[in-house]
Subunit: 271 residues, 2 copies
């Protein structure tokens, strides 16, 4: 009976990372001997720290605003404070634009890496140079979901890995073609790694062994290719925001007594 | 150097499941000796088959309509066909309401289990009775995400497992309290299991070892508790749908020349 198996472990002993540290060298020491087909998952937090993305910011809210390219939805919370769902520079939609104020020095915040795919590619090159093994690299971050409680880790950077596995058109076990299945491999790897890395401990890196079928000989498309925006995005605005925009436009049209005929696109929203 | 480690494997040799099969007995045979703290992840597909949820349906679209309690967003696809994002009976928001037409007999579709938390609880009880080990059970299904390409597996049923790990208020490694982190443990476990189970092969079950800290002595809250709906849901309607509703209401108000004063809630949408 053959068995598909994955192992994932997160070594202790990764030191506190500072700006300018050689993260690849630190990862090589922490992870030990890597094998061909291993995937190394690194929390974006330590990538950002190594890249000097810790910045002075008395006001976390202003830092979030600075990292935001588009506001998707805003909601005042019952207990005070405001939740802002925004698109950040990387096209990622989530709360707080990736601005991180936990596990950083007081009076500072940590921004996401400038280009996490590029960070992953640099780490991949450095790891391969040391270990001689073709490995994949995922840079992970923590993201909420609109209709489900809690957050999961996702891939915001990737190199040497098939980020999605497109099974559309392949036969299923009964020989019928499968529906719309596109497996979000890199995000599932990030989620797996989160389970072993944890949040509170100093275990920002994990190694996943057993997914060599998804490891590539090249950097590949990267995690940027996972982002679904623009015309594909059915949730470009929060419901309240889209309703309010529609109401304003509808009210303006109705006030002009154009008797129901309008050149405006009624159901297009911001798309 | 201590190491946190997870192993996950998906045994081959699980037979085709039919209505009325004793799924727990089949799982015991397939998974071999379970240990205390193991989590068994089962694809909802085989749970549904064992529970006789395969129904004759010439029209898959009608079956989706029957399983839908609320339409969130509808979009015609460029290549033809329609994507419907809906809330199903279980409160889960996704495409196709969980109606599955792959890996089933022609002319039929497979509906989700009636109560996947209850299915998970029954399996947990039966597994514990056979193995004597406290184990957790997750019933998984495949779900898309609004802003990211590809699908991940999530937990639609759970028993004996901490479905979310609420770290709010706990100290981080620097002794500062962590922000809003609530780890979606059950969903991350489902994602992990998807990586080993695969989609095309007959490997509908996986065992996860190493997460005993999240395994409970009781059935626990179940996956239903992960659902975020109602007032917490900022994306209760697709942007186009919310815009159109706002436009209609705004236009009606404007046409009455009420000069901008209205008793209607302008920014409330459907909430």
């Amino acid at each position: 009976m053959s068995v598909a198996e994955i192992r994932c472990w997160a070594p202790d002993g990764v030191p506190e990372i500072h700006a300018g540290d050689d993260l690849a060298a630190i990862l090589v020491t922490a992870t030990g001997r890597l094998e061909a087909g291993d995937v190394v998952v690194v929390s974006s937090k330590v990538v950002s720290k190594a890249e000097g993305r810790q910045v002075v910011a008395d006001d976390r809210e202003q830092a979030i605003t600075d990292e935001t390219v588009r506001v998707v939805a805003v909601r005042e919370q019952p207990g005070g404070g405001v939740t802002r769902i925004v698109e950040n520079r990387l096209g990622i939609v989530g709360a707080a634009a990736g601005v991180d104020s936990s596990n950083v020095e007081p009076g500072t915040v940590l921004l996401l890496p400038v280009d996490p795919d590029e960070s992953a590619a640099r780490l991949r090159t450095a790891l391969i140079a040391v270990t001689g093994a073709p490995v994949g690299v995922v840079v992970s971050d923590t993201l909420g979901r609109p209709w489900r409680r809690g957050q999961t880790d996702v891939a915001i950077g990737a190199a040497g890995i098939r980020v999605v596995d497109d099974l559309r058109g392949l036969p299923d076990a009964n020989g019928r073609t499968m529906g719309v299945t596109v497996v979000a491999v890199a995000d599932e790897i990030a989620a797996l790694a989160d389970l072993v890395k944890g949040k509170a401990e100093n275990r920002p890196v994990a190694v996943v062994r057993g997914l060599g079928e998804h490891v590539l000989d090249v950097d590949g498309p990267g995690a940027r290719s996972i982002v679904r925006l623009g015309n594909e995005d059915m949730f470009r605005q929060g419901s309240a925001e889209a309703y309010a925009e529609g109401y304003r436009n509808g009210y303006a049209e109705g006030s002009q007594e154009t008797s129901g005929s309008s050149d405006d696109e009624v159901d297009g929203g911001a798309w």
